[in-house]
C-alpha cells in the first residue's frame, strides 16, 4: 500500500519531495497510527450512546433522543459540557500524579492497537511477540487506577483504587492462562499467525470456517476469557468499582471535567480492545464464517460489534457480584479450570486425535 501512496504523493510534492524523504518513514507510521486510532476514538465516543440506547430499549424506555436526530449528537453535547467544566485538583493532592492518572488509564488502551491485525498483512507492527506485548500493555493499565486513587488524597478514592486494582490483577492472571492454551494450539505468539491457524482444519475445508475457530475446541477457555475480559474492564456485573447504587465512584471520585471524562473514555476504549482481542484469539479475526464469502476486515468489525453488544447486554441483565465472590470466581474457579484445560489440551495435542496439525 505504501508504494501506491508514494506514487500519488511524489508528483504532488514535486521539488519539495527532497525535504520530505528523510522523514517519510516517520510520517508514514504516523499516518497509519491516525488511520487506526481515528475509528477507534470515534467508536469510543459513540459506544456510550449505544449503551444508553440498547439498555433503554431493554428496559422499554426510549433513551437519549433530544440532541439531534435520534439523539445522535448526544456524545458531542456530553463532550462539550465536560470540556468546559473546571478540572478541580484537591488540596494536598500530588498534582503531577493526579494529572498523570487518567492519562495512564487511557494510553495503554490505545497503544495496544499497534499489534492488532485487521487483515492479512494489514497491521501496524507485525511482531512475533504480539501476544506478550498485549499482555504487558494491558498490565500497565492498572497504574492509571492506582495512581489516581492515591494522588487524590481521599480515603474513598484510595479504597476504590485498592478494590479495582486487586480485581484487575486477579483477572489478568486467568486471562493470561486462557491465552496460553490458545498459544499451544496455534503454535505462535504472532497475532496474524494465530488468526491464520484458525482458518485450517476439517470444517474450514468443508466451507464451515465458523466451526474451526478456537471458540469451539477451546470453549471453556473462550468463556473464561470473555468473562475475565468483562471483569478486567470493571463492567457490570463486576462493576464494584463504581457501583452506582451502593458506593461512591471509586478511584475517580475527586475528578471532574475532562479528567473524569478520560476515565470514561478509557473504560470504553478497553471494552473495544477486549472485544477485538476476543475476536482475534477465539473468533477467527478477519476470517469469513462460511466458505463462499470472502475474508475481509468487515468480519472483524462485525465480530467486535457482537462482543460489544454482549457487554451491554450483560449490564442490562445480571445483578452485581459481591466482592468476595468476584475474588472467588477469579482465583478458585477460573484459575484451576485454566490449569486443568492446559493439561487436557496438552494431552489432546499429543494424542492421535490432535486436530491442530
Amino acid at each position: 500500500m505504501e508504494a501506491q501512496v508514494l506514487q500519488f504523493i511524489q508528483p504532488l510534492a514535486g521539488p519539495l519531495w527532497g525535504w520530505v524523504e528523510p522523514v517519510w518513514p516517520l510520517l508514514w507510521t504516523l499516518l497509519k497510527i491516525v488511520a487506526i486510532l481515528a475509528p477507534v476514538v470515534a467508536a469510543v465516543a459513540y459506544l456510550p450512546y449505544f449503551e444508553r440506547k440498547v439498555i433503554a430499549y431493554m428496559h422499554v424506555r426510549i433513551g437519549p433522543n433530544r440532541v439531534g436526530p435520534f439523539g445522535l449528537l448526544q456524545p458531542i453535547a456530553d463532550a462539550l459540557k465536560l470540556m468546559f467544566k473546571e478540572v478541580i485538583v484537591p488540596t494536598k493532592a500530588s498534582k503531577a500524579l493526579y494529572i498523570l492518572g487518567p492519562i495512564m488509564g487511557l494510553a495503554p488502551a490505545l497503544i495496544a492497537w499497534a499489534v492488532i491485525p485487521f487483515d492479512t498483512g494489514l497491521v501496524l507492527a507485525n511482531i512475533d511477540a504480539g501476544v506478550l506485548y498485549l499482555l504487558a500493555i494491558s498490565s500497565i493499565g492498572v497504574y492509571g487506577i492506582i495512581i489516581s486513587g492515591w494522588a487524590s488524597n481521599s480515603k474513598y478514592a484510595f479504597i476504590g483504587a485498592m478494590r479495582a486494582t486487586a480485581q484487575m490483577v486477579s483477572y489478568e492472571i486467568s486471562m493470561g492462562m486462557a491465552l496460553i492454551v490458545v498459544l499451544m494450539v496455534s503454535n505462535s505468539l504472532n497475532l496474524s499467525a494465530i488468526v491464520m491457524a484458525q482458518g485450517k482444519g476439517t470444517f474450514a475445508n468443508m466451507g464451515l470456517g465458523l466451526l474451526s475457530w478456537n471458540w469451539l475446541p477451546l470453549l471453556p477457555m473462550f468463556m473464561v476469557y470473555l468473562i475475565s475480559g468483562v471483569a478486567e474492564t470493571n463492567r457490570a456485573p463486576f462493576d464494584v468499582v463504581e457501583g452506582e447504587s451502593e458506593i461512591v465512584a471509586g478511584h475517580m471520585i475527586e475528578y471532574s471535567g475532562m479528567a473524569f471524562a478520560l476515565f470514561f473514555l478509557a473504560e470504553y476504549a478497553n471494552m473495544i480492545l477486549i472485544s477485538a482481542m476476543v475476536s482475534i484469539f477465539f473468533l477467527g479475526g478477519w476470517l469469513s464464517p462460511v466458505g463462499f464469502l470472502p475474508d475481509s476486515v468487515w468480519w472483524l468489525i462485525a465480530k467486535i460489534s457482537v462482543i460489544l453488544f454482549l457487554f451491554l447486554w450483560f449490564r442490562a441483565t445480571f445483578p452485581r457480584y459481591r466482592y468476595d465472590q468476584i475474588m472467588r470466581l477469579g482465583w478458585k474457579v477460573f484459575l484451576p479450570l485454566c490449569f486443568l484445560w492446559i493439561v487436557v489440551v496438552g494431552v489432546w495435542m499429543m494424542s492421535p486425535l490432535n486436530i491442530w496439525k
Binding site: 512475533d128 506478550l132 500497565i140 490483577v169 489478568e172 468476595d324
Partner: protein, 203 residues
Amino acid sequence: MEFKTFVFYLLATIMVLAALRVITARNPVHAALSLVLAFFNAAGIWLLLHAEFLAIALIMIYVGAVMVLFLFVVMMLDINIDRLRQGFWHYLPVGGLVGLLMVGEMSVVLGGNYFGLESIAPPDIPGGFSNTKMLGRLLFTDYVYPFELASIVLLVGIIAAVMLTLRSRKDTKAMHPSDQLKVQRKDRIRIVSMPVEKKEGGE
C-alpha cells in the same frame, strides 16, 4: 550521531535520573513510581539490543505485577521518613564500602578487557530472526531440566508464602459461597402445622 545511539543516550539519561529519584525522593510512593520509570527505560534499552522477549517480560513481570503489589504495600504503610534517615552517618562507612565494591565490579565487567569483550564480534542477526522463538526452543530443549528445577523452586516459594500467612480464625464471620450454595430449604425454614382457628363472629 546515529539515531540508535541518540535513542540509547536518551533512555539511559532518563533511567539514571529516575534511579536517582528512587533514592532521593522523600515520598516512598514517588520513589516506587520512579523505579517503574527506570524499569521502562531499561526495557527500552533491551529492545535496542534486539532482546524483545526480555524487554516485554520485564514490563509484564516487574512493572505489571511486582511493582503494583509493591505500591499496594507502600501506599498502605505509614512510613516515617525522619526515623528512616536517623542512622545515616552511622551506616555510611558500611554502605560506602559495599557501593565502592559494586562500582569496582561493574567497571571490571563493563571495561571489557577482563572478559575480552572487544575481541567478540557483534552477532550477525538476520532479518526474520525471532528472539522469543529461539529462547523458547532453548529453554525447552537444552535447558529443560534447569528450567523445570527453577519452576519447582518458585512453586515451593508460593506454597511456603501461602502457608505462612494462612490461618483460619474461628471468630470471623466470613461467608463461604460453597456453604451458601449447599443450603437446602429444610435448613432454613420449618413448616409447623397448626390447627385452623375460627374467626370470632364469622359468617
